[in-house]
């Protein structure tokens, strides 16, 4: 029977604030020095009280608006209560029934290559827990708790179950990653846990019957999301064919499974979290937050162009290929900005795209630099390319200037726009349109190369190479192709 996978994602994003969400401790990944970024508040000491970090709330508003969400005019903080050693207060400060935002969307690419608006059900702000560190030697050593992470501002983004395939799940997460890094609210470093994903997966058959919903946890890479959803779809199909267990059957509850990235399987997790009663209630230590329409409008007016829109504009207005637009935008906002400045400086988007996606990216990778650190600024590179489009220099000369500019940087010389023209002059790279000078140089080179002339006359065409070399040394801005043609004409007696 035909089936459709029904997939919803829950994504946790750590926000890039200077300090934690309810205290003044630094918000920094620092597992090497456990429990050094703590204070009575994030340790949950008796008598300590939380105070909301305005910056965390502002970054949350920016994110929700970039996700096309509605902002609630009134929101509050709730305590989600459960015991775990990494949760110092015995409750997590979160948002339950009045999240600060809801009803948004983000586009993902379907398995068929179409765009789908995946609806965002809600986004709410909460505090991250610490980290339990278990002895993995198998010798049964003590477990330890690192509370450096406790109190990191964490945004939970919950989609509607609108996603229909593993590929689409991955695409959604990639789009989200790109958006979050574009707007600068998170570094989304998945190794460090700044972006974490859980997936709710089940299958719906054409006759309306559905398999039980499974929440797959620990999806901490893009590939992991795709592989886990794929695995879970197949597993549920097999399971259903074996047992016939379906959603709504008595005793069928939501199951939690963990993704084992080593073995590429999902495993049932012990401990029924569904059975937990979190006993939510409003946190009496914090005031509710009201958000005015004015604040929402102000933030909206400063939102940057979202990456998906930027890609479309690059294709539509700048005639870039989909591939180039993807490469440029996927490198991040700064890179896209760099490209746009190069393009507008040289007034040739296609040429700019070629250079930034090839030469610039290659050098950035070789030198392990990000674009802000790249020594040739966008206006400098734009000027080099402008000289090409003006036909002042050839593309080959442009490459020489590019290399020379990098050498300048390596030797700590300033790389400026005026340096570009100096290099062109110093190295005689200007395209020579003065035929008199070229004719003279050819005549001189021919006169200096009797052996080559002899060989040429004996039918060895490649003998011209030596003469071309001599001419090019004299007239550096000359076009080698043109030089070659003129030499042959000269030798052939024309």
């Amino acid at each position: 029977m035909n089936y459709t996978p029904i997939i919803g994602l829950e994504v946790h994003v750590q926000l890039l604030t200077k300090t934690k969400i309810f205290c003044g401790c630094p918000n920094k990944f620092n597992p090497e020095h456990p429990n050094t970024q703590t204070c009575p508040v994030c340790l949950g000491m008796p008598g300590s009280l939380p105070v909301m970090n305005e910056e965390a709330f502002r970054l949350s508003l920016i994110t929700a608006l970039a996700l096309n969400c509605e902002i609630a005019p009134f929101t509050k903080w709730d305590r989600k209560q459960y015991y775990y050693p990494d949760l110092p207060k015995g409750y997590q400060i979160s948002q339950y029934d009045l999240p600060f935002s809801h009803s948004g969307w983000l586009e993902a690419t379907t398995a068929e290559g179409d765009l789908r608006k995946v609806r965002i059900r809600r986004a709410h702000l909460e505090e991250d827990a610490g980290k339990n560190i278990h002895d993995e030697s198998g010798r049964g050593g003590d477990s330890q708790v690192d509370l450096n992470r406790a109190g990191t501002p964490l945004l939970e983004i919950v989609t509607e179950p609108d996603i229909r395939s593993a590929v689409e799940s991955k695409s959604f997460l990639e789009e989200l990653y790109l958006l979050l890094t574009f707007i600068g609210v998170s570094d989304c470093n998945m190794q460090e846990g700044s972006l974490r994903c859980d997936a709710n997966v089940n299958l719906k058959f054409d006759d309306g019957i559905a398999t039980p919903i499974v929440e797959v946890k620990n999806l901490n890479t893009f590939r992991g999301v795709e592989a886990a959803v794929d695995f879970e779809i197949q597993r549920q199909l097999d399971e259903f064919q074996k047992t016939g267990r379906k959603l709504g059957d008595p005793g069928v509850e939501k199951e939690t499974r963990g993704w084992d990235a080593q073995r590429n399987i999902t495993l049932a997790q012990r401990g029924k979290e569904e059975a937990a009663d979190y006993r939510y209630f409003p946190d009496p230590d914090l005031l509710p937050v009201t958000v005015s329409a004015h604040v929402v409008a102000e933030i909206k007016s400063h939102l940057c162009e979202p990456p998906s829109q930027r890609k479309r504009r690059f294709q539509k207005e700048m005639a870039l290929s989909e591939y180039d637009a993807d490469v440029i935008v996927n490198r991040g906002r700064e890179f896209a900005d760099y490209f746009e400045l190069v393009a507008s400086t040289c007034d040739d988007a296609k040429q700019a795209a070629n250079w930034v996606t090839q030469d610039v990216l290659r050098e950035m990778n070789d030198r392990r630099l990000n674009v802000e650190e790249f020594p040739i600024g966008a206006e400098v590179l734009g000027t080099v390319l402008k000289r090409v489009s003006e036909k002042t220099i050839t593309i080959k000369s442009a490459r020489e200037v590019f290399v020379a500019l990098l050498e300048d940087a390596d030797e700590d010389r300033e790389v400026t726009v005026s340096r570009v023209d100096h290099l062109i002059d110093d190295r005689g790279l200007k395209v020579v349109s003065d035929t008199g000078a070229l004719d003279a140089a050819i005549a001189a080179a021919v006169a200096e190369s009797p052996k080559a002339v002899e060989d040429f006359n004996a039918g060895k065409q490649q003998a011209v190479g030596a003469i071309i070399g001599k001419v090019m040394k004299q007239v550096r801005g000359a076009d080698p192709k043109q030089v070659r043609e003129q030499i042959i004409a000269h030798l052939s007696g024309n």
């Binding site: 000491m45 008796p46 008598g47 300590s48 105070v51 110092p88 708790v145 006993r279 939510y280």
Partner: protein, 479 residues
């Protein structure tokens, strides 16, 4: 009269005019502690004598040298043991925190230090402030200095008893459902609980966060407001602290007449006749002085007790979840797995009343009961507060009893939690509505036990509360 029995204002006068010294005062207080503490047990911790005398001497030297000294003038101050003091044992009278030494000062402690007060010691309380008699302490019961067979009230019974017994000129308590005012009344002193948010809660070990408010136990009204002006005011570390400026308080009664609201509902069945008579006499004195007595109605106050016990226990169950034996506090010697470790640590270290309230609180917040109990209580709380707002359109202050009776005998109600909870019936409304309230002694029973009268003002109207209390105090003294 011994230095140990003078008010803060009197002590400051003597210090400033040079007729006594800080060393003499500390010595007198320590002498009194040596005399009575064995019987009263007001303190869990008294700081070492040499430290106290050294600090006192430093203030004497400063004064001698003509240096400015802050408003507390180097006087010793007793602190309820649920308020965190950096480097000084802070137990909340629980075995759970039996060895807990906070790495930080509560905001009120920082302000007391800033104002040149000396921390004398930490006073006994019901465990985590849960109780009305100071009988639920892991460090033994406190006895009422007026009659050692009687309870001092609670939960700030240690602070009230210390001030009443001359073991401290003034003390800080904390009031969640009457925990400063009721023991003050039982011990025959003044107890002040300001508007919710007037004093920072940062560093106060939470019982019920939306009700908790630090307060003052003192020998007279002026002292209570002197201390309030030191410790009150906005604190960026407490989101619920008020942003409005602290008023300046009058030090002496004036002749302005007041409209005194008297709620019929607070004088019904269950009120002890002697208490009723003492309050009535106070009201008569006020009338005689030209104040107007206005009958008012607070109809929803009849729901105050269940409302209070639902909200307080709900918040308490959550506030006490942090005591899991993981990071600080008592950890069982039988940890086993995680669940056993948490369960055994809590089972071993919490007393019965604390366990009872944690269970009640978890029950009223649990799935299926949340709306029926917790949510409903929150709605009734609003109705109770609205009653007060309406009443204050007709009057400046409200006067009513603080408790249905004077102090009762130790052990008299420990076997019956429900009867015990009923003693809070007149005190919890000020917490539910967040209003400033004060009790002061207005008589004694035929057995010689103090009777307190309670004065309540509208939110943030501590200045009015101060004026009314000073006026009543003057009338009762002149009687």
């Amino acid at each position: 009269m011994s230095l140990a029995e003078l008010t803060v204002t009197e002590l400051i006068d003597r210090l400033v005019n040079g007729t006594t010294t800080n060393v003499e005062i500390v010595k007198a207080v320590l002498e009194r502690i040596r005399e009575v503490e064995g019987a009263v047990n007001a303190f869990i911790t008294v700081r070492p004598e040499d430290e106290l005398l050294a600090e006192a001497k430093a203030y004497d030297d400063k004064r001698q040298a003509g240096e400015a000294i802050g408003p507390l003038q180097g006087l010793p101050i007793a602190i309820k043991d649920s308020i965190c003091t950096k480097g000084l044992l802070t137990t909340a009278a629980s075995k759970m925190l039996g060895e807990f030494v906070p790495p930080f000062d509560a905001t009120v402690i920082a302000r007391i230090r800033q104002a040149d007060g000396i921390l004398l010691g930490k006073t006994n309380t019901d465990e985590f402030s849960m109780g009305s008699t100071t009988e639920n302490s892991a460090f033994g019961v406190t006895r009422n200095p007026r009659n050692l067979d009687y309870v001092p009230g609670g939960s700030s019974g240690g602070s009230a008893a210390a001030v009443a017994a001359g073991e401290a000129p003034i003390a800080l308590g904390a009031d969640t459902g009457g925990s400063v005012r009721q023991p003050a009344a039982y011990c025959g002193i003044v107890g002040l609980k300001p508007t919710y948010g007037r004093i920072s809660r940062f560093g106060l070990i939470a019982y019920a966060s939306s009700l908790d408010q630090i307060g003052v136990c003192s020998r007279d009204v002026a002292d209570a407001f002197l201390m309030l002006s030191v410790i009150a005011g906005h604190d960026p570390h407490d989101s619920t602290s008020l942003g409005t400026p602290v008023p300046t308080f009058p030090k002496k009664a004036d002749s302005a007449s007041l409209r005194v609201g008297v709620p019929d509902e607070y004088f019904g069945a269950g009120l002890d006749d002697e208490v009723r008579a003492a309050i009535q006499r106070t009201l008569d004195l006020m009338k005689g002085q030209g104040h107007t007595v206005v009958p008012i109605s607070l109809p929803n106050s009849k729901y105050s007790l269940p409302t209070y016990y639902i909200i307080a226990t709900a918040e308490a169950s959550s506030n006490l979840a942090r005591y899991d034996g993981v990071q600080y506090g008592h950890r069982t010697s039988q940890p086993g797995g995680l669940i056993d470790m948490v369960t055994n640590s809590r089972t071993e270290a919490f007393g019965d009343e604390v366990k009872r309230r944690i269970m009640l609180g978890n029950y009223v917040l649990s799935g299926g009961y949340h709306d029926q109990y917790y949510l409903k209580a929150c709605k009734v709380r609003r109705l109770i507060a609205d009653d007060f707002s309406r009443a204050f359109e007709q009057c400046d202050v409200i006067v009513h009893p603080i408790a249905p009776s004077a102090a009762f005998r130790l052990g008299e109600k420990t076997g019956d939690p429900l009867t015990m909870y009923l003693t809070d019936i007149y005190s919890v409304t000020a917490n539910l509505a967040g209003l400033p309230a004060l009790t002061l002694p207005c008589g004694t029973t035929k057995d010689g036990l103090p009777i307190g009268v309670q004065v309540v003002a509208a939110t943030e109207q501590e200045e009015t509360l101060c004026r009314a209390s000073l006026a009543i105090e003057k009338l009762l003294r002149e009687e």
